[in-house]
């Protein structure tokens, strides 16, 4: 039961990852699959910019273009950004609070596999009769009219992966509530843990409306229900409400963990405690809270009436206040610090002006009458790419460099990292800054082509050129990952030298039980406190060395998800009428899913114990420094 990495065959490694319930391995699964979908979504983005590089381009047909924008948005939000953030939450949050694993390791694995199979299912639409083509918002009247199975792939795929995300959210909430190490009070939790906590709460309350909306969509399209069928008394605006009641918190589900990552980075690389920690925490909570009260600002032009528009306009503006508090506290964190411009830090530094630019255009769009002009124009495309790329993607890239050593035990190249940064950062601003003006010049979004007589040619060409630079940046990152993995120079506990929180007090990567002895936390930035006190071990312990109880691995989460994946195909083709085998596929899939759930509940799974002797063996093996 030693944690020292043993040379394993390829098949054994695959099996290990399929059955793992270890939060660190699940994090790697999330990172790999999220990264893969990020590349897919990026490829789709490049196709969009090629199509729009010149006026009247016929590189893509109108129908294909709509499929590509739909899949670009859906993939980037649901299958790339969120899973990669879940990867960091999984990898780091339990370490930050001094836990040995998450509260429900089995469900953690189930959450991943549901997301994974949902994402694969959605993307298989490309090869099975066409992708969804009603935009990532999937507005109901267009979605109901869409031919083929694209929209069904969207509804069922997102339902499955949405269950996975919901499970992950509940799991993180319980972990943070129940599994904090002694002394880790709420107001001593690192900011990344706090943002994980609030984002998980948002997941918990925001995903059910989406699931309900998707079910309505499935029922309407497949079983003849009439939620959105206007001639049957239905109402398509219900979809818009349900989607945005989910959709706006979703934006904060993405941006809050990004804020968390940047908060960690500012503190580490300024070698300084976060300025106004308490204010940052409450700003996070407030942003999460307001996130549920502003959804209708996505619907200013729907015709909800001036009262609703005015109320939602004012509510939306208020969000600028806690966001501003965050920005100024970060600025004051680096103020008076000792700034080291490592790759994560330059991302964090670059994030501030980028995100402020995205934030101020957000306030402009909160002005409802002005939004009548900006809504559904390229201005909004520019705005949300400024917050999502300038906020979330920069955080993902920063987090990848920051946490790579903790997850894999080796550092990404700083030199290549900076090359990635410059290409990506310049390309990003080149691509999207100019789109604000395209919008103001009257260019609507989601147009597959534009006429040469409208004055939009030059700016679109510049925008496409910027996209190429971003692509080069991402390619350099891939090279960096490959080269780093080949070199595989091992690093110690605290590779950045200025780590402040518990994850930097243990080996990189940590042993599978994380902490041989549960740490005792004495304050905010507990590892920094111990370092400053000259404690060579980096932590003090809350318990003597003793047996550790750990959960068993299991293939059941994989099988449950596989069953739902299979059943979805059955459901999808069942109502074509001419495919009698589809019913069989549906039943087989459901039997697999419910059968494996039954096995899980009938078979006692009590886990196993690592004995004290084995822990001592590990410690002797020099595991504390990762070798």
């Amino acid at each position: 039961m030693s944690s020292i990495a043993q040379k394993k065959g390829f098949g054994a490694t695959i099996w290990d990852f399929m059955t793992t319930v270890d939060h660190k391995k699940i994090a790697i699964l999330y990172l790999i699959s999220g990264g893969f979908f990020f590349l897919v979504g990026g490829l789709e983005a490049m196709l969009i910019r090629v199509q729009l590089a010149t006026a009247g381009n016929d590189f893509l047909s109108a129908g294909t273009y709509n499929e590509i924008i739909t899949m670009h948005g859906t993939t980037m939000i649901f299958l790339a950004a969120m899973p990669i953030l879940l990867a960091f939450m999984n990898a780091i949050m339990p370490l930050q609070i001094g836990a040995r694993d998450v509260a429900f390791p089995f469900l953690n694995s189930l959450g991943f596999w549901l997301f994974f199979f949902g994402g694969i299912f959605l993307n298989l639409s490309w090869f099975m009769g066409g992708a969804p083509d009603a935009g990532w918002t999937n507005y109901a009247s267009l979605a109901l009219a869409s031919e083929g199975h694209g929209i069904d792939f969207y509804s069922l795929g997102l339902t499955i992966s949405g269950f996975g995300t919901l499970i992950a959210g509940i799991n993180f909430l319980v972990t943070i509530i129940n599994m904090r190490a002694p002394g880790m009070t709420y107001m001593r939790m690192p900011l990344f843990t706090w943002t994980t906590f609030v984002a998980s709460a948002l997941i918990l309350l925001a995903f059910p409306p989406l699931t309900v909306g998707l079910f309505f969509m499935v029922f309407d399209r497949m079983f003849g229900a009439s939620f959105f069928a206007v001639e049957m008394g239905g109402n398509t605006i219900i979809w818009e409400h349900l989607f945005w009641i989910f959709g706006h918190p979703e934006v904060y589900i993405l941006i809050l963990p990004a804020f968390g990552i940047f908060s960690e980075i500012f503190a580490i690389f300024s070698r300084k405690r976060l300025f106004g920690y308490t204010a940052l925490v409450f700003a996070t909570i407030l942003i999460g809270f307001y996130g549920f009260m502003v959804w209708a600002h996505h619907m200013f032009t729907v015709g909800l009436g001036p009262t609703a528009n005015a109320v939602f306009a004012l509510a939306t503006m208020i969000i600028a206040v806690p966001t501003g508090i965050k920005i100024f506290n970060w600025l004051l964190t680096i103020w008076g610090g000792n700034i080291s411009f490592t790759t994560p830090m330059i991302y964090a530094v670059a994030f501030i002006p980028s995100f402020v630019a995205g934030g101020v255009t957000g306030v402009m769009q909160a002005i409802a009458p002005l939004d009548y002009q900006l809504h559904d124009s390229y201005f909004i495309v520019a705005h949300f790419h400024y917050v999502i790329v300038g906020g979330v993607v920069l955080a993902i890239l920063a987090g990848t460099h920051l946490y790579w050593p903790k997850m894999f035990g080796t550092m990404l190249s700083e030199k290549l990292g900076k090359w990635t940064f410059w290409f990506f950062f310049i390309g990003f601003h080149l691509t999207f800054f100019i789109q604000h003006f395209l919008g103001l010049m009257g260019m609507p979004r989601r147009v597959y082509t534009f006429g040469a007589d409208q004055g939009w040619d030059l700016f679109n060409a510049i925008s496409s050129a910027g996209a190429v630079l971003m692509a080069i940046g991402v390619i350099i990152l891939l090279v960096n990952v490959v080269m780093t993995s080949i070199k595989n120079e091992r690093v110690g506990n605290d590779p950045w030298g200025d780590g402040r929180t518990l994850e930097w007090a243990i080996a990189s990567p940590p042993p599978f039980y994380n902490f041989a002895q549960t740490p005792l936390v004495r304050g905010l930035d507990t590892f920094w406190i111990e370092k400053m006190d000259g404690n060579k071990k980096g932590m003090i312990y809350a318990e003597p060395l003793g047996d550790i109880h750990m959960p068993n691995g299991s293939i059941i989460p994989f099988v449950i998800s596989l069953g739902m994946f299979i059943a979805s195909f059955g459901a999808l083709y069942f109502l074509d009428g001419d495919k009698p085998w589809a019913l069989a596929v549906l039943i087989i899939g459901l039997v697999i899913t419910f059968g494996s759930m039954l096995v899980r509940s009938l078979k006692d799974d009590l886990g196993f114990h690592i004995t004290k002797a084995e822990l001592l063996e590990d410690a002797k093996g020099g595991n504390t420094d990762g070798h």
Binding site: T278, A310, M317, A320, V356, P369, R445
Partner: protein
């Protein structure tokens, strides 16, 4: 050397100017060149909010630049450990209060304008003669074209909206199929065209479109509605009230039959097939299967976006799916006994259609 720098400067200046000018876009469609009260109000809000936001950006930028320049490790020394400051209640108060003040500056005109732009209470006010004192246009969005009904005048047209300048024009919007959004950027912001309810708002046209280079304002569909969403354009002609009244009168007359032989042949052909969906008289109401063609010869574009010439018209009739994928115009062969239209047939149809006009 100096000369080189000067040239470079001049070049840089010219480029900046060019980008700046291009940054305003074309007057037919840019929100930055407002040509009506609504767009002007919205433009003013844009300028106001940009100024406030620029202030925020400048403040953040100053602190930001100072911080990253002053506190670099190369200056502070490798081993220097900064003081671990906890925070400052005074500063927290400051950067909570100041943004709230800035937001209040924005909030007041926002609320005022939200109610002002939604105020359609004068829509049904009647003048002394019993007619309503304002023009109302019923707009119906269809895949992928626009129908404009003038209920008071008893006329209907499509694809090209004709409106009087310098007065409020009220719009009732509804979709016949999929959700669209009605947007004339240089006249005013958009409003969604929903399938389940009528949305009402007003616009004002303060400039005659004949002053524009292209002679019309450009209108757009701003809500993804299928493959040809990008091509669901319409055009707006704004004329003074007198000219508008003349146009209405002309629309209310019966169309004159085609005169020359080719066009007569075209009319014959049209009345065998196209007439099932397309009316050629401007008199009538909403509900056309295809766009009303009474003003076809007066229009600025074919199919909403192609240059208005016979060549494009013939191409369009011969293969509508090629130019507007997913539109509902029937396959030409189904109208012509299974045969594609011959060149001669297309010529005659084009001649007939181009002759449909209500303007002089």
């Amino acid at each position: 050397m100096m000369k080189g720098i000067k040239k470079w400067r001049l070049f840089a200046l010219m480029t900046t100017l060019l980008v700046f000018l291009a940054g305003c876009g074309r007057e037919e469609i840019s929100t930055l060149i407002p040509a009506g009260k609504v767009a002007q109000d919205q433009f003013n809000l844009l300028i106001l909010s940009s100024v406030v936001m620029l202030f925020v950006i400048i403040v953040v930028s100053i602190i930001f630049v100072l911080a990253i320049v002053k506190f670099r490790r190369s200056k502070m020394g490798e081993d220097m450990i900064p003081e671990q400051v906890e925070g400052s209640a005074r500063l927290e108060f400051l950067w909570t209060a100041v943004p709230i003040v800035l937001l209040l500056i924005l909030a007041v005109p926002t609320v005022y304008s939200t109610f002002d732009l939604a105020d359609v209470s004068t829509m049904d006010v009647q003048a002394e003669d019993g007619n309503s004192s304002h023009l109302t246009v019923n707009v119906t969005g269809k895949l992928y074209w626009w129908e404009f009904e003038y209920p008071e005048q008893g006329i209907v047209t499509a694809q090209e909206l004709v409106v009087p300048t310098d007065e409020r024009v009220y719009f009732n919007l509804i979709s016949a199929d999929i959700k669209h959004s009605f947007w004339i950027p240089s006249i005013g912001g958009k409003l969604d065209v929903n399938p389940e309810n009528v949305n009402t708002f007003y616009l004002e046209f303060d400039q005659e479109s004949s002053e524009l280079e292209d002679g019309v304002f450009y209108g757009k569909c701003a809500e993804l509605c299928g493959p040809s969403h990008a091509l669901m354009d319409f055009k707006v002609k704004s004329v003074d009230r007198e000219e508008f009244d003349q146009w209405v009168t002309a629309m209310q007359e019966e169309p004159t039959p085609a005169e020359d032989a080719v066009a007569q042949e075209g009319q014959e052909l049209f009345e065998q097939s196209c007439i099932a969906c397309h009316a050629t008289s401007g008199v009538g109401g909403t509900g056309g299967v295809g766009p009303n063609l009474a003003t076809f010869g007066d229009r600025n574009r074919i199919a909403g976006y192609l240059e208005h010439d016979e060549e494009n018209l013939k191409n369009w009739i011969a293969d509508p799916q090629e130019y507007k994928p997913g539109n509902l115009m029937p396959d030409p062969e189904s109208l012509n006994d299974g045969e594609p239209f011959t060149e001669q047939q297309l010529d005659s149809l084009a001649a007939y259609l181009m002759g449909l006009t209500v303007e002089e």
